[in-house]
């Protein structure tokens, strides 16, 4: 990268509990770009870079955001969680296992974003004191920002139901 686009502030990102120093990066880079291209964390995907598809969903200080809409430098020192923190091939997270079991994965491009969104839904839902936040309409509304072109969402909704059941 050339110096023609200044400034290049140095900053530190805390991703999945690990510090990452970023230097010599153009200030205009999105969190998504920095995660994917500088920190070797390509789990978050970029299907639109316009905040319309949810494929880049990550948590910043516990809030689900589109990483494509966040300038990386603005979340220095925030607690950033990506799909890479969710599980490992030896032990999938409950949500990941549910996606595999339900057949909710086809091309998989939307999958990491959906895993983050469903995890967030479950985490928030279980804190709710009353009622069942997991009726189907509520689930559909919660996931309506995550586009999937392959599945028609049927198996995705089944995966959510399975994950909710397994998380109880």
């Amino acid at each position: 990268m050339t110096d023609s686009y200044s400034p290049h502030p140095a900053y530190r990102l805390m991703v999945n509990g690990e510090p990452h120093d970023v230097s010599d990066a153009w200030i205009g880079e999105s969190l998504l770009h920095v995660l994917r291209e500088r920190l070797e964390l390509p789990g978050a995907k970029s299907a639109c870079e316009q905040g319309e598809c949810g494929s880049c969903s990550v948590l910043v200080d516990g809030v689900l955001v589109c990483a494509c809409l966040v300038a990386a430098v603005t979340v220095a020192d925030a607690d950033i969680r990506t799909v890479e923190s969710c599980g490992s091939s030896q032990s999938l997270s409950v949500v990941q296992q549910a996606f595999v079991d339900a057949g909710a994965v086809q091309c998989g491009f939307c999958t990491p974003g959906l895993i983050m969104a469903v995890q967030d839904l479950i985490d928030r839902g279980i804190q709710l004191p009353h009622a069942s936040p997991f009726d189907e309409l509520a689930t559909r509304e919660a996931l309506s920002g995550n586009l999937c072109r392959c599945t028609g969402y049927g198996r995705v909704l089944d995966a959510v139901a399975r994950a909710v059941e397994a998380s109880r």
């Binding site: 990268m1 050339t2 110096d3 023609s4 686009y5 153009w26 205009g28 770009h33 994917r36 291209e37 390509p42 789990g43 995907k45 970029s46 299907a47 639109c48 870079e49 316009q50 319309e52 598809c53 494929s55 990506t82 799909v83 890479e84 969710c86 599980g87 490992s88 091939s89 999938l92 990941q96 996606f99 595999v100 079991d101 057949g103 994965v105 086809q106 091309c107 998989g108 491009f109 939307c110 999958t111 990491p112 895993i115 309409l137 559909r140 509304e141 996931l143 309506s144 920002g145 995550n146 586009l147 999937c148 072109r149 392959c150 599945t151 028609g152 969402y153 049927g154 198996r155 909704l157």
Partner: protein
């Protein structure tokens, strides 16, 4: 890369085996083309014409080259091999140099050290255009001044079947229109090219047609095909949109020119501009029937707007024309099919491939005919269904399974969904533009469709697989592009079944094995599934002959039964096999606001045999989603050749809130003769008649004619005004 090296134990054919790439995909570890990275890599970016029709007066790349960090700027002058490419006819320039024929046509590419540098360099290239009037009306194209040396008609196909002058006792006529749909796969186009020491190049590419990508790319690079070593990179959906090449030649040119690895990825806007779409079509029909409902003749004129370049327009038109009557026995027909060139975006393959457009029209006609006859619409269809031994409009006699009656009966006999609860989110318009419950009417619509499986008209779209068995582990090597459909799962199931092993490794799909053809036309289960089966059987025979060998290996090329060209009357045995499907849609419509909510789509489908129930369900639900999208929301808005909505803000695809429940009433399992394991491809039928069923349901709810999809609120509101 992709599924390489992954092992799983378990299920055989007919069971819901899990995908071998499922775990890496949920972990975010699966490498898509977009995720690839190489040391010293540069970023490629394309300059696209902002006009649909122009003469290029000059291109000055100097200002771009002067930018620090820019390694190359290439134009048409740098194309070493063939200057044009194309799947059927090489009529599309690698770069426009004299004439621009559609908005978004590539003019130049840049390689730079950072995507932002590349973006600025592209913006710095100075192009002087002299604007010309775009040809945008497909009806005027055939007679209009040619906008390309090959002329403005991609294909004019006439089908004369029986005696097309026969008149019916009851005649209904209608004109229909289908808008331009986009595949809108989630993983934008991407590729990484790495120059080789021998002057060749290694290409990792998200694609659905690897060997033809390789051949077209090599020809344009001026290299022997074997100098381009291509591998399918993780592919985020395709649906037809990756059958043509887009950035393949560009990224390889940049890599060869700079001597460095180059990665290109399209933004969403470029993706919309950079691949072909579903053809918009205008369809005129006249159906003739006896008083008892027996169809006697169908006349149609089909005009498909192919946009600026040929792509697969010719084959799309053939499908539209051959299946123009629907899955009914029609003894006489005259189909006048046109695929023409305009200055609109190029159109080509999308799931359903020509059959979707005509299905919308022929099913609207069947409902209209039923109304004219005072007959139940399903009854009318049942009276005319195709059966084994009947001829379709091309004179081809159906010899395989033809369960049209079965899919219709299973679909209509399934239970209807309960009444709406009235919940805000369930109403048309959702929470944002909520309908008034008093204005909501429910409608039910029905449609049937069919199309061919595999390539047609004499094309030998074979597939190749190599299987090696060693130490109880089978490794399958096949260049079939896995784009999400689940072929990698099927490979494992087939190899386990035939070889009776548990461990099956799916090797990366690359050009070091023979072609597998395209992942399209619902053909890979049959073609590449058959290739894998054949290679496995050869290995089994080797084991029997020579039980003690340290390993066994075989390669099998699988060809389908040969087909013929259509003759001058559009007659001939042009197709290999067919699949049939029925859909029933239930909608709620706010007739005052014109808002539609699709409540449920029920379906029954002819599948031959279910090889993986869970994957079959996923294909059906996903295909119906695209059909629903075309019915009520998806359209590329192209005004005077200018694309107005190349983004997900304005090109809307169904979300979880738009997508109805899917009820699979039945999968009809009548094993298809000649098909490996009796299985028919299942990818496209869900998209064929789901659009037509939703349109019919909206007609039922509103009384509006719904002669165009996608349906827009104004079509319904103004129609309601007219009625009242």
């Amino acid at each position: 890369m992709t599924a390489g090296g992954l092992k799983t134990r378990s299920p055989r054919l007919g069971e819901s085996a899990p995908r071998p790439d499922g775990i890496p995909k949920v972990l975010g570890e699966f490498a898509f083309g977009n995720d690839l990275w190489a040391d010293g890599m540069l970023w490629g970016k394309t300059l696209r014409a902002p006009h649909p029709s122009a003469r290029i007066v000059s291109v000055d790349i100097g200002p771009a080259l002067a930018i620090d960090g820019v390694a190359a700027v290439l134009t048409a002058a740098d194309v070493a091999g063939k200057k044009t490419y194309g799947l059927e006819t090489p009529d599309q320039p690698v770069f426009a140099s004299e004439v621009v024929r559609y908005m978004g046509e590539p003019i130049a590419v840049v390689a730079a050290d950072h995507p932002e540098t590349a973006r600025r360099a592209v913006a710095a290239i100075e192009v002087v255009y002299e604007l010309t009037t775009p040809l945008v009306d497909a009806d005027l194209a055939a007679e209009g001044t040619p906008i390309h040396p090959d002329g403005n008609v991609f294909r004019h196909l006439v089908i004369r079947h029986g005696d097309p002058t026969v008149q019916g006792e009851v005649i209904v006529e209608g004109t229909y229109e289908v808008g331009m749909q986009d595949q809108a796969f989630m993983g934008p186009e991407s590729g990484l090219a790495i120059p080789d020491d021998d002057g060749g190049v290694e290409l990792f590419i998200s694609t659905q047609f690897l060997h033809v990508d390789r051949d077209q790319t090599a020809a344009c690079l001026g290299l022997a095909p074997e100098k381009v070593r291509a591998t399918v990179a993780g592919t985020g959906g395709a649906f037809g949109g990756r059958e043509d090449i887009c950035l393949q030649v560009h990224v390889c040119m940049l890599a060869l020119h700079t001597g460095r690895p180059v990665k290109m990825l399209y933004s969403r806007e470029e993706s919309f501009l950079g691949h072909v779409h579903r053809h918009p079509a205008k369809l005129w029909y006249r159906h003739h029937a006896k008083r008892d409902g027996t169809l006697v003749n169908v006349e149609a004129k089909l005009v498909f707007d192919g946009g600026a370049y040929a792509s697969t327009s010719s084959a799309v038109l053939a499908n539209a024309s051959c299946f123009a009557g629907g899955p009914y026995l029609i003894p006489n027909a005259f189909i006048d099919g046109w695929a023409v060139r305009t200055n609109n975006p190029p159109c080509g393959a999308m799931r359903g491939f020509g059959a979707v457009q005509t299905c919308f029209a022929h099913e609207a006609q069947m409902d209209k005919l039923a109304a004219a006859l005072g007959m139940d619409a399903v009854e009318l269809r049942l009276r005319n269904v195709l059966k084994t031994g009947d001829a379709i409009l091309t004179g081809q006699v159906l010899t395989g399974a033809v369960p049209v009656e079965e899919v219709i009966r299973a679909c209509v006999e399934s239970p209807l969904p309960p009444k709406a609860t009235g919940a805000m989110l369930e109403r048309p318009g959702g929470a944002g533009r909520t309908a008034d419950a008093h204005h909501v009417r429910r409608g039910v619509g029905f449609a049937v469709g069919f199309k061919n499986l595999m390539f047609s008209e004499g094309f030998d779209d074979y597939s190749t697989a190599r299987v090696r068995l060693q130490d109880g582990v089978a490794t399958v090597h096949c260049a079939c592009a896995e784009v999400g459909q689940g072929f990698v799962t099927l490979v494992q199931q087939i190899a386990r079944e035939v070889l009776n092993v548990d461990d099956v490794i799916v090797a990366p799909a690359d050009t070091s094995v023979g072609s597998a053809g395209s992942t399209s036309a619902s053909r890979q289960t049959w073609m590449s599934g058959g290739a894998v089966e054949g290679a496995c059987r050869m290995v089994s025979e080797q084991m029997e002959r020579n039980p003690g060998a340290s390993y066994y290996e075989a390669t099998f090329e699988h060809h389908h039964a040969p087909t013929e060209q259509l003759d001058e009357n559009g007659q001939g045995n042009a197709h290999v096999s067919f699949a049939f499907v029925a859909h029933r849609a239930v909608v709620d419509v706010d007739v005052e606001l014109g808002l539609v909510k699709v409540i449920e789509v029920a379906t029954a489908q002819d599948v031959g045999r279910v090889l993986n129930p869970l994957q079959a369900l996923g294909q059906i639900e996903g295909g119906i989603a695209q059909g629903v999208g075309l019915a009520v929301m998806e359209e590329m808005l192209v005004i005077d050749g200018v694309v107005r909505n190349a983004n997900f803000t304005d090109y809307l695809i169904p979300t979880t809130l738009d997508m109805p429940n899917v009820l699979v009433a039945s999968l009809i399992e009548q094993p298809e003769p000649g098909a490996p394991f009796g299985a028919k491809g299942i990818g496209e039928p869900p998209t064929i008649s789901s659009t037509a069923a939703v349109a019919a349901a909206i007609r039922d709810a509103t009384g509006a004619p719904v002669i165009r999809v996608p349906v827009r609120p104004e079509h319904l509101v103004f129609a309601a005004d007219l009625v009242s």
